[in-house]
Amino acid sequence: MFWRMVRGAVFRQRGRVLMIALTVALGASLATAMLGVMLDVGDKVNRELKTYGANINVIPKGASLLGDLYGVEDGSGVSDQYLPESELGSIKTIFWAFNIVDFAPYLDARAVLNGGGDVSLTGTWFDKRLELPTGETLVTGVRGMKSWWDVTGEWLAPGDTHAAMVGSAVAERNGLIAGDTISVGYAGRSVDFLVKGVFDAGGSEDDRIFVPLGAAQELTGREGRVSRIEVSALTTPDNELSRRAAQDPQSLSVKDWETWYCTAYVSAICYQIQEVIPGAIAKPIRQVAESEGAILEKTQFLMLLITVLSLAGSALGISNLVTASVMERSREIGLLKAIGAHNSPVSRLVLTETLAIAAIGGAAGYFAGLGFAQIIGQTVFGSAVEPKPMVAPIVAVLVVAVTLAGSIPSIRLLLSLRPAEVLHGR
C-alpha cells in the first residue's frame, strides 16, 4: 500500500510533481555540467595555456652552472655546452610522454648580419616531423609553440633549408622585409638566407633571426648539437609535495616519491626529462608554471562555487516547493493522522515521495547537464567535455542530500500538523 500511495502521489499529481522535479533537474543539471567541466577543465585550460608557450627549459648541466654562478643567460650563445640533437626524441618516451604537447630545440650563436653588425642567430625546428623511438611520428617545433607570433610573410616550411624568420626589431634596424635576402656570417663563413617572414613576438625574441636548425649547425660547425630545448607540457598545479620534491626528490619517502613521480607535476616531468637526456638540466619556467597553476585553481574554484551555489539554490527551491506542497496537502496529512497514522510513517511517506520525484528530476537533470557540459566545452574550449563516470554517483548523492536538506522545514511543518486543526479548523 505504501508504494501504491507513493506511486499515486508521484504519477497522479503531475503539476506539483513537475515543479519539484524541474527544480531538482535544474540543480542537478548545473551540478552535472559544472562538475563535468571542473573535472575536465584541468586538461582544457592546460591545453589552452600551452598555446602561450613553453613551461620547461632544458639546458646542458654546464650552462646551468654558468647561469647560476655568473648570470649568463640561456641562449646567449656564449656557453660552450650543448645537448645532443639525437636525444630529443627521448623526451616523448618519459612516463608522462602523453603530457608533452610540443618541444623545440634551439642552437644560439652571435653572428654577423650582411657583413655589418652583430645579431643573435637561433637555429630551430619550425614544423619538424620527428620519428620517435617508439615508432610513432610527431610534428613539433616553434610554429606550434609560438602561435601568438604576429608574422608578416610566411612561416618556414619543412623544406626551407636556407630561409629565415627575422624578429621585428632586427628587421626595423636593418630595413628588412619578407622576400629580402640576408647574409649571415659566423667565424669567417657566410650563408645567404631568404627572409620568408618578419615576426613580432612582443619580447626579446624580436631581436633574433630564426633559421632552420640544420643551417645554423652547419654555419657554426656544431652539427648534431643544440644549446637548449623548450618543452610545453600539461602539468598538475604544484602542491606541498611537489614543492618538496622540486627542492630534493631524494628527501621524499618511497610512497611520496611514487606519488610525486606518477603525478604530472612540472617538477616530476623535469625530473623524467633529465632521466632520458643525460647531461641535461630541465627547469620549470616558474612564472609560467605558477600562473598556469593559479589560473587552473581559480577556474576550478569558480566551477565549484557555481556548483555549490546552484545546489544551494536548488535546496531553497525544493524547500519552498515541498513546504508549499505539505501546506497544500495539510488536510490529506491531517486525514492520515486522523485515521491512525503516526508522525513517522507520514514523514516517511512524504520523504519517499519527494525523493522519488527528486530521482526523476535528478536523472533528467543529469542527462541535461551532460548536454550543458558539451555546450560549455564547445563554446569555451572548442572541444567536447569527456563525461566522467564519477560525476553520476556524486550528483546522485548531492541530489539526495539537497532533497533531504530541502525537506527539513516541510517535515517540521508536517510533524506540527494536528488533525483537529486541519480537518475542522480547530
Partner: protein, 221 residues
C-alpha cells in the same frame, strides 16, 4: 452502565479566555444513535474533536470503551482513534490521487494490513463496487461520501462519528447516506452524528442540543 461505550464527565474546553465547552456530561450506550445539534459556535465541533480523540478536554474525563482517554498522549490518542473510531467528514477528505478502493485501503494500511477484497466488499456495501477504481474527482459528492463511510467502517470501529455527513449532499444522496446509517444502526453500530439538519437528527434515538458550550436540552425520539 456496563453497556456504555462513551461517557463524558463534566468536560470543559477553554481556548484562551473562551470556553468552547463547559461542564458537559454525556453517556452513550453501545448501539445507540445520537445526534448533536446546535447553532454555530455552540461547541459541536469541539465536542466531536474530543470524542474523536483529536483533542483533549481542559478538564473533566472522557471514558471510551471503559478507558479514560482524557490524559492520553498524542500517540496514545492516535492508536485509540485508529482502533475504535470511524470518522465521517462533511468534506469527505478523500485522498485525491488514490482511487476509491485505495482510499479505503489506506485506513486498513494504518490499522493493520491492507486487504483489497475486504475493501472492495466495503465499497460494494455502500453501493460503489462498480466505481472502486475511480479517482475522487470522477465521483459525485454522494459517491465520495459513501467512500468516506466505507473507509470509516473498514476497521470495524466501536464508534462511528459523523460530522455533518449530509452537509454537502443533495436530497437524493442525503437519503442514500441516511439509509446506510439506518442499516448500520440496525446492525448494532454506535453512531454519533453532529448536524445542523433536523431531518438527519430525526432518525437518532437521542438528540443533544448544545448552546454556548453547554447542553441546553436532550430530546428522545
Amino acid at each position: 452502565m456496563g453497556n456504555n461505550i462513551l461517557e463524558l464527565r463534566e468536560i470543559s474546553k477553554i481556548y484562551g479566555s473562551v470556553g468552547a465547552l463547559r461542564d458537559v456530561s454525556l453517556t452513550v450506550s453501545q448501539g445507540e444513535w445520537i445526534a448533536i445539534m446546535g447553532p454555530s459556535g455552540s461547541g459541536k465541533t469541539t465536542m466531536m474533536n474530543i470524542i474523536g480523540c483529536m483533542d483533549k478536554p481542559t478538564s473533566g474525563a472522557v471514558i471510551l470503551d471503559g478507558m479514560d482517554i482524557s490524559r492520553e498522549s498524542q500517540k496514545g490518542l492516535t492508536n485509540i482513534r485508529r482502533d475504535k473510531i470511524g470518522l465521517i467528514f462533511q468534506q469527505f477528505h478523500l485522498i485525491n490521487y488514490l482511487t476509491a478502493l485505495e482510499n479505503v485501503m489506506v485506513a486498513q494500511y494504518y490499522h493493520s494490513m491492507p486487504d483489497e477484497g475486504e475493501a472492495l466488499r466495503a465499497l460494494q456495501r455502500v453501493g460503489l463496487g462498480e466505481r472502486a477504481r475511480h479517482l475522487p474527482s470522477q465521483l459525485s459528492g454522494g459517491e465520495q461520501q459513501r467512500v468516506c463511510i466505507a473507509r470509516a467502517l473498514i476497521n470495524y470501529p466501536r464508534l462511528i462519528l459523523a460530522d455533518e455527513p449530509t452537509g454537502n449532499l443533495d436530497e437524493t444522496n442525503e437519503g442514500i447516506v441516511l439509509d446506510i446509517f439506518r442499516q448500520l444502526h440496525g446492525e448494532g453500530s454506535t453512531i454519533i452524528v453532529v448536524t445542523h439538519d433536523p431531518e438527519v437528527a430525526e432518525d437518532a434515538q437521542r438528540t443533544i442540543v448544545l448552546e454556548h458550550g453547554r447542553v441546553a436540552r436532550v430530546t428522545h425520539s
